[in-house]
Amino acid sequence: MDDINDIQNVEVASEGKQYIVVRLGSEQYGIDIKYIDNIVRMTRITRIPSAQKYFKGVINLRGEINPVMSLRLKFELEPDEYTNSTRIIIIKLESQSPIGIIVDEVKEVVTLDSASIEKPTADAANDIGIKYLSGIGKHGDGLITLLNIASVINEKENI
């Protein structure tokens, strides 16, 4: 059994990882598909008083309460403008409860092999800061900022 698993793992590795490409303003970000639980349309968000600014509130996802974070506000970009293409991506990290993040658009699923991913370097730090970055992916003629989604979600800060 172990051997078979190993072979499969090797294959996956050579094929690369799958990312969901989302758009925030004019930038493209990639989120590792294994953390994605669901993608839902914009829905009514209930505001939570005195929460962190980038938390827009909570939504009702199939009878469960889910917090929703604005990726734009988290990255200190312009506030969201909800359009028809705005989506909430439900992220499920291992042994944590699900959390939604708001993006302007969900574009596509891409597969990136390790050769087309550049590890972040200190001077690659852009607007969102290096702490949320896991690398830069090259796809076609565009660049995709690959998010370290765990650090985006779990970053603790003082309010």
Partner: protein, 703 residues
């Protein structure tokens, strides 16, 4: 035989027996002469010994055996209960509890022998029964003699009663020239797998003949429902000696008494003979050894032991099959499903009221019916999860007793309302806070004995633990008649610690100062003892209780004592709430904390020190503008008057100003999760019938 499948039952039953022991020993300390209590202790110790033995926990068995021995002496009147005996019994109890804890962890009793406790127990038993010892030996010797000679006291088979049908079998066997023997088999008292040994005896016998009847019957023997002996009637073509040696070849058989079975006895009854009764009969019939009163006593004890053993076994029987042990997780799943059902029901209700076209009465009737069913269903599921608070508080009398000795203060604990029920999840959490409060009362609350006498109080300090249901809440009160809290002392300490400034202290009411006790790192105990006063204390209690959705308050009267009042919600998951509107947002206020709803004209709002208050039926109530606190965008229209929801916490009140009342509704509390740092004001969220989310306001934090 694999006993591991019984481990859970063993643990549960052991817990029960240990609790009985603890309770009874407590009583015994007060009433050393109470024979009922002594018997009860003896029985519990005996059952424990048997159970530990069956499970192969030798050390536990040995300890309980010695405890049982001591009580045998007490029962037979050879010694009285002394305080040092109670002490060592408690130590034995602790040791048993640690065995149990070890078994819980590792399914093994560990290696601690508790030699010292056993020695003390034995010493006490020996000291008290110094002259009893030889007498007992004698009785034993006599028994041994009796068993070897094959008649006398131990040939119990003679008292087996046979039915007409069985008689016919005997007649037939006799006519076929077979021997009919009565046999009584004795197992060694150290024998662990009694049923298995009995089975081997039966197997050996069946090879040579037929077992016609046994006492107790085969089912009971398989279930180990017998002491260390059983009797049977046996038909065989073999000789007596051969049968005897076959039985004694089985290991752990102490001996067998065998003789021709005399069926001349009247056998009117068809019912199974009651061994206890039989034995009693026999003890009476048995010739008394001349002048040996001790032996007589021993015989009487023998008569009593099986009878005592039999009683609990019989009482326990009918309950089997009426109760089922259910995994708490399964109940949680059930509870969640009920919650979903209630949400779905609320959805139906809201569509039916929103949709005018569906206004036929049949539909509404069905919805009302559904509503009553879901409400009942919810109540039933909640009831299943309810556990009497007794299971938590029953360890406290013992704790107070130990504290009393440790602190050198005389004190008594009075408990009421142990039958009050709380949700299982609350029960699991409430033990530690209560224990802490009780320790506090014992250590800081009560004065030393001489001080109490000097103050003209009863020398013995009293601590009260009262639990009762109060509407949708359960109140638990921990009270003492000690010194009370010195507000000045608390104030000075708070200033000294920098918790408050002297100016603040001046402005604070006594109540506010007492509330400082619940702040982290605040202990006024002048000397730190290992009972309480390490600086972690009341704040932890408070956090825990608030975590359970409850609250705690303290009342104190200098010189009279103090009381801590804990209020806990009856249920955690589903509550009745008042839905209110603030701007475009909806909030739920738990009905439990609401006192009244008032319509207040603007002109009635007064200002006291820049704070808004209203005058209501003689009391001044501060107004809280929820829209400001919750940063709600104000609604467009200006109301003519204020709608004020009066909430209470203990005897304090506050008026929450809301824009609109929606109505009362059953809501399912859902956690918001820990990603969002929301204010303490929001205790959770709920999903409304139309899928919208409303936040639940924890009114207590505002008062």
């Amino acid at each position: 035989m694999d006993v591991s499948q019984y481990l859970e039952i063993f643990i549960d039953e052991t817990k029960e027996h240990l609790q009985t022991l603890s309770d009874q020993i407590m009583i015994l300390e007060q009433e050393p002469e109470n024979m009922d209590v002594i018997n009860e202790i003896f029985r519990a110790a005996h059952s424990l010994k048997g159970m530990a033995g069956t499970m192969g926990f030798k050390r536990m068995q040995r300890l309980t055996h010695d405890m049982e021995n001591v009580f045998q002496e007490v029962r037979s009147g050879n010694m009285t209960v002394q305080p040092e005996l109670v002490d060592v019994l408690f130590r034995g109890l602790d040791a048993l509890e640690s065995y149990l804890a070890e078994i819980l962890e590792t399914a093994n009793e560990g290696t601690e022998d508790n030699e010292e406790i056993i020695n003390t127990l034995n010493a006490i038993a020996k000291k008290a029964s110094g002259k009893e010892e030889p007498a007992k030996e004698e009785a034993k010797a006599e028994n041994a003699a009796a068993s070897s000679s094959g008649n006398g006291t131990e040939s119990k088979y003679q008292s087996i009663q046979v039915s007409d049908f069985e008689k016919n079998t005997f007649e037939k066997a006799k006519s076929e020239n077979q021997n009919i023997f009565g046999i009584t088999v004795y197992l060694q008292e150290t024998c662990i797998l009694k049923a298995a040994r009995a089975f081997l005896v039966f197997k050996a016998l069946e090879e040579m003949g037929e077992v016609v009847k046994s006492v107790p019957d085969i089912q009971d023997i398989e279930d180990e429902k017998f002491e260390f002996d059983f009797s049977l009637v046996y038909i065989t073509a073999e000789e007596l000696e051969k049968v005897k040696s076959a039985i004694e070849a089985v290991s752990e058989v102490r001996g067998a008494v065998i003789g021709p079975f005399d069926m001349g006895e009247p056998a009117a009854e068809e019912t199974k003979a009651d061994p206890a009764k039989e034995e009693a009969k026999q003890a009476e019939a048995e010739p008394k050894p001349a002048g040996n009163a001790a032996a007589q006593k021993a015989a009487e004890q023998k008569k009593e032991t099986p009878a005592a053993k039999k009683t609990p076994a019989k009482a326990a029987k009918p309950t089997v099959g009426r109760t089922v042990r259910v995994d708490i997780e399964k109940l949680d799943v059930l509870m969640n499903l009920v919650s979903e059902l209630i949400i779905a029901k609320n959805g139906l209700v809201s569509t039916s009221t929103a949709d005018e076209t569906r206004n036929d009465s049949g539909f509404n009737e069905q919805i009302e019916y559904l509503e009553s069913v879901t409400t009942n269903l919810h109540e039933s599921v909640m009831k299943v999860r309810m556990v009497p608070i007794e299971s938590v508080v029953n360890r406290f009398p013992r704790m107070i007793r130990d504290l009393s000795k440790k602190l050198g203060k005389k004190m008594e604990l009075h408990m009421t309302g142990e039958e009050t029920e709380l949700d299982r999840t609350v029960i699991d959490e409430i033990g530690d806070p209560l224990q802490h409060l009780l320790r506090n009362s014992a250590d800081h609350g009560l004065e030393a004995n001489d001080e109490r006498i000097a103050l003209g109080k009863d020398e013995v300090g009293h601590i009260y633990l009262d639990a009762y249901q109060d509407g949708n809440n359960v109140t638990i009160e921990v009270r003492d008649d000690g010194a009370g809290i010195n507000v000045e002392k608390v104030k000075n300490k708070a200033i000294e610690k920098g918790t408050i400034t002297p100016e603040q202290a001046e402005a604070m009411s006594d109540k506010e100062i007492i509330d400082l006790l619940f702040k982290p790192s605040f202990s006024t105990a002048e000397k730190i003892t290992d009972v309480s006063g390490r600086g972690v204390g009341l704040d932890v209690v408070k956090t825990k209780i608030e975590g359970l959705g409850g609250n705690i308050e303290c009342k104190t009267e200098l010189g009279e004592g103090s009381s801590f009042i804990i209020r806990l919600p009856l249920t955690l998951a589903i509550i009745q709430a008042l839905m209110v509107e603030l701007g475009a947002e909806k909030y739920a206020i738990p009905l439990g904390s609401i006192q009244t709803i008032e319509d207040v004209a603007f002109s009635e709002v007064k200002h006291v020190q820049t704070k808004e208050v209203i005058h209501l039926r003689g009391s001044v109530i501060p107004l809280i503008r929820l829209d400001k606190i919750l940063e709600v965008e104000p609604g467009e229209f200006e109301p003519e008057s204020l709608t004020v929801v009066i909430v209470k916490k203990g005897d304090r009140q506050a008026g929450l100003v809301v824009d609109n009342l929606i109505g009362q509704q059953e809501i399912v509390i859902k956690p918001i999760g820990d990603y969002i740092h929301c204010s303490k004001l929001i205790s959770g969220a709920t999903i409304l019938g139309n899928g919208e989310i409303a936040l639940i306001l924890e009114a207590n934090t505002l008062v």
